[in-house]
């Protein structure tokens, strides 16, 4: 079996998520978001429901739905979150 290699290193390499790249990643991401909505002009969406025909519906709805879910998860978390040792304490 390989030995785990857990030694931290002194200098950290660049990559996604690193602070100094963050601005560049954000710009690229926002351009992609904009393009995905603008592409609706070129593609016919064949909506099944009237609500689907609204411009940018999927984009706005996905954002809102995720926002609401994250918000609700936070509320659930505040109510239901316990310490890691919770069940250990209950078991003993």
């Amino acid at each position: 079996m390989n030995e785990p290699m857990n030694e931290p290193i002194a200098t950290r390499a660049s990559g996604p998520g690193e602070a100094r790249n963050a601005k560049r990643w954000w710009r690229g991401f926002l351009v992609l978001l904009l393009l995905s909505v603008l592409a609706e002009l070129a593609v016919s969406l064949h909506p099944h429901f009237a609500i689907e025909a609204l411009p940018g519906f999927h984009a706005a709805y996905a954002f809102l739905a995720c926002g609401v879910m994250i918000l609700m998860a936070r509320v659930f978390g505040l109510l239901l979150r316990r310490s890691q040792a919770y069940y250990k304490a209950a078991d003993e």
Binding site: N2, M5, F29, S36, S44, F49, A59, A62, G67
Partner: protein, 565 residues
Amino acid sequence: MSSALAFVSHPGLVLLGGACVLPWLRGSARNAAVLAIPLLALMLLWQLPDGPAWQANWLGYAIEPLAVDRLSRLFATMFILMAFGGGLYALGQPGRVELPAAFIYAGSAVGVTLAGDLITVFVFWELMAVGSTLVIWSAGTRTAYAASIRYAMIHLLGGVILFAGIAGHLAGTGSAAFVPMSADSAATWLILIGFLINAGAPPLSAWLPDAYPEASWSGTVFLSAPTTKAAVYVLLRGFPGTELLIWVGLFMAFYGIFYALLENDMRRILAYSIVNQVGFMLVGVGIGTEMSLNGSAAHAAVSVIYTSLMLMSAGAVLRATGKRNCSELGGLFRSMPLTALCGSLGALAIASFPLTSGFVSKSMIPQAAAEGHMLWVWILLVAVSAGVFVSFAIKFSWLVFFQKDSGLRPADPPASMRWAMILFAVLCIVPGIWPAPLYALLPYPVQYQPYTAAHVLTQAQVLLFAGLAWCVMAGWVKGWQGVTLDADWFWRVLLAALLRRIGALILATQDCANRALARLACRISYAVARQRVPGGLLVRTPTTGSMALWVMLMLLGYLVLYYVG
């Protein structure tokens, strides 16, 4: 065909037989057997003709222990593939119980899918619970043991409910055949509940994220598929078009998302993803059109692959670092590029990213909802699709492999684990690019074109804007430590406290009764002792005459009774 040859023609029994042989093999013979047994089972499965292959009479019921059709062939194929891929992945597992247990587990899941009658379903159903409990046990830790006992309790409860349902159904209809039913009698309700418990449905969903993440690094890979997907299979066969399943499925889908958003343990996040994905499949079963049933079957098949793949990459990280919390991991793509790539491909597949298997399978279910004009179901399924990307794909692959650098530099795992991940990664991509072979395996003819410009664009929008929501709002739920209370609180805390109270009450009552009895015994013995003094009742000497009088009275009484009677 001779009976001995017939016995080995059942692919599930081949895996079960293999499980009996594996403990006696060592070294390369064991490795060869681990890979050869599933391949043999797969070959046998594909040589079986459609229709019942074995028929028998048992206690007056016609049973078909081996019957094949398109649906059962698809599910059995996936279970055998999972046994092969999982076996390859676990070749380096030093524990000697896990692989045989996993083969019992996979073999009995194949047995459930190839059963043409409810009696055979029940037998293999229970065997599956035994195999999976053994897989959890083989992790060898105290928490795994405790979790496995809770797991076994829930599954024994499910088994008892299923048995009661099947017994009632046999008594009511006189037939053991496993055909589509509707939940309109107590017996069929019990069968439905028994099936749903294994699917991870509410209110007992908590058994799944409680037990699966406690298995070893390779054990969780085996656990991810059989129980829940076999439950999807029996619901597809037994209860297609049961509307209740739509709402149960939607509940499970959202439950998985909420709990995964709060979770820090990477394997527990993936356990919630299983509940979520099974929920999606149940919605398809509940809608009940050919398109939605095809969608559920296809999605179950591909989810076996991508869920295993993500758990394989999580297992590789756990094995190399010993850490399971996302908050302690991050940036592992630098030293584990292959694991990061494979884990991310699995994450893209679960998010239904175009060109992955999830895109061509999952989209059939919302499409079926749209064609059935079920606006609310459709709109909730789109929300689930967005939530899946955030709560599983991003939370798992981004937080573990990318994001901030944790400073950990574990290496990619050994060759057997790498090849297992590569195999499953290929199986995540190929159906996404070329869906025709997957569609050809589905129970009904497929007239569905996944790659329309509209579909690709709307899915891309959903994923991109879900990602934006994560970037903006992740801080609200990121980095939370600890456990989230779930229904298992009722049996881990409330029931345990209740039992302790009842136990204490019984002990107290016993104590009280003991003392009262002791006091009574004391009094009696004192009373007796008081009569053992001169002139007391026990020391007195009665005269012979009085005895003769009493004997005469007794004989007289006897005479009277003789005449009266």
